[in-house]
């Protein structure tokens, strides 16, 4: 039997309820597992207890809770902050320090895929500068990644061009590095003003498959039949299946981020059912 992708849930999807304190992170994890999530993804700035200074106790307790439900944490999504200081951007050294700390947290959490988000900067202009900066950062943490047996996944997220990240993956050429395509790159319709859509051709999704180590199934809007209206789910999941990808597809509902309220549990269930329907 050929390998099949597995379904995970990014607790990001429960943002509407967590930010309103109607659900805790643990409530959301429990719900995600109850509706069939085979793995859990967490976002550092939303879900890590006592952020940004969790104790090892905090992290172990969270990991133990996830594993008590019979699943593991499958991706740790973080932000490498350029602009904490008011008067200047972070240096490469400061960004590397953040990444080292995040990889250590990932190791305590028992997670094997680490996604650092590195946002645009005025000082990094153009594709060559983009590649150069990322290679500088990745090279510094590769020894840690190899030691901890963790892969760094660079997310391909709209408005990035998949060809650029493919170029990066080929240059890095290391089994501790891969790509995390986010469906937003191949989105066909815009749902919110802040919803950036890539409208990239499906061939470019096929092209990144050999380097794909994790997937973000982005969603913004469902209809009453449970279909997602802004991304071509059937086509993208078919490509994943046919490529032999056997990692996780992590459901990532984002409709809540501007402040709209949702019943996160209902949306999460619709989302997981949609992915499973096409698997």
């Amino acid at each position: 039997m050929s390998p099949k992708p597995k379904v995970a849930m990014s607790i990001y999807s429960y943002g509407a309820d967590i930010r309103r304190r109607r659900m805790t992170v643990e409530d959301a994890i429990e719900h995600a597992v109850s509706i069939g999530a085979e793995g859990i993804e967490l976002v550092d700035k939303q879900h890590i207890p006592n952020y940004p200074y969790p104790s090892v106790y905090d992290l172990r307790k969270l990991r133990d809770y996830i594993e008590s439900l019979g699943v593991k944490m499958v991706c740790y999504s973080t932000y490498v902050d350029r602009a904490i200081l008011s008067d200047r951007e972070a240096t490469i050294g400061e960004m590397v320090k953040m990444m080292h700390e995040q990889i250590a947290v990932a190791d305590v959490l028992g997670v094997k895929v680490y996604r650092p988000a590195i946002l645009p900067s005025a000082r990094v202009q153009g594709e060559n500068a983009f590649i150069k900066e990322r290679i500088e950062l990745i090279k510094e943490v590769l020894p840690d990644l190899r030691k901890y047996n963790i892969k760094l996944g660079m997310e391909i997220h709209a408005p990035m061009q998949p060809e650029l990240l493919l170029r990066l993956a080929k240059k890095v050429n290391d089994k501790s590095f891969g790509l995390i395509p986010d469906f937003s790159v191949w989105a066909t319709k815009q749902a919110l003003d802040t919803h950036i859509i890539g409208k990239a051709p499906l061939e470019s999704f096929k092209a990144v498959m050999p380097y794909t180590i994790h997937v973000h199934a982005k969603a913004h809007m469902f209809n009453e039949k449970g279909e997602e209206l802004t991304h071509p789910y059937k086509e993208l999941i078919t490509i994943l299946k046919e490529s032999g990808y056997d990692g996780y597809i992590s459901a990532e509902f984002e409709g809540w981020w501007e402040g709209e309220d949702y019943d996160s549990k209902r949306v999460a269930e619709t989302h997981i059912n949609l992915i499973k329907r096409y698997l």
């Binding site: 943002g15 967590i18 930010r19 309103r20 304190r21 976002v43 700035k45 939303q46 879900h47 952020y51 940004p52 932000y79 490498v80 902050d81 350029r82 602009a83 904490i84 200081l85 008011s86 951007e89 988000a117 590195i118 946002l119 645009p120 900067s121 005025a122 408005p159 802040t194 950036i196 981020w257 501007e258 402040g259 709209e260």
Partner: protein
Amino acid sequence: MADRLLLPDRIIRNMDVNKDGEIDGFQFNICNPFYTAEPVSSIRSIQLKIDGDEVDTEKTSLIIRNQRIKIKDAPTVYETWWRFGEVSSVLVEKPGGLTLGKHQLEINVRMRTSSGNYGFGEPEFPTKAIMEVE
């Protein structure tokens, strides 16, 4: 739309800040309106009007996990983070506080983003509400 999340309740409390038996300020709750945790240094300003009258920023503080941080000092507070969905409070120094009953609060929290440039400009969260002083 996250401005709707900024005020989790409609209550203002008069406070005896220096514990001398006299009311010298007032305080109300605010919730982090951004979609992630942010360091306090990301707060550019908290602009307030009570019943149309502007509040002096020099007299305004954020109380976050029992730490009082004057808003004018916020740009250098890098190590204390306003967590995702966290309710903190705003304290305004005002001898005698506010009169009991209803008051209109206009508030705008302007922020930077610590991750870098999201491409949408710096977020701000203007909102207004009728608050009750208890």
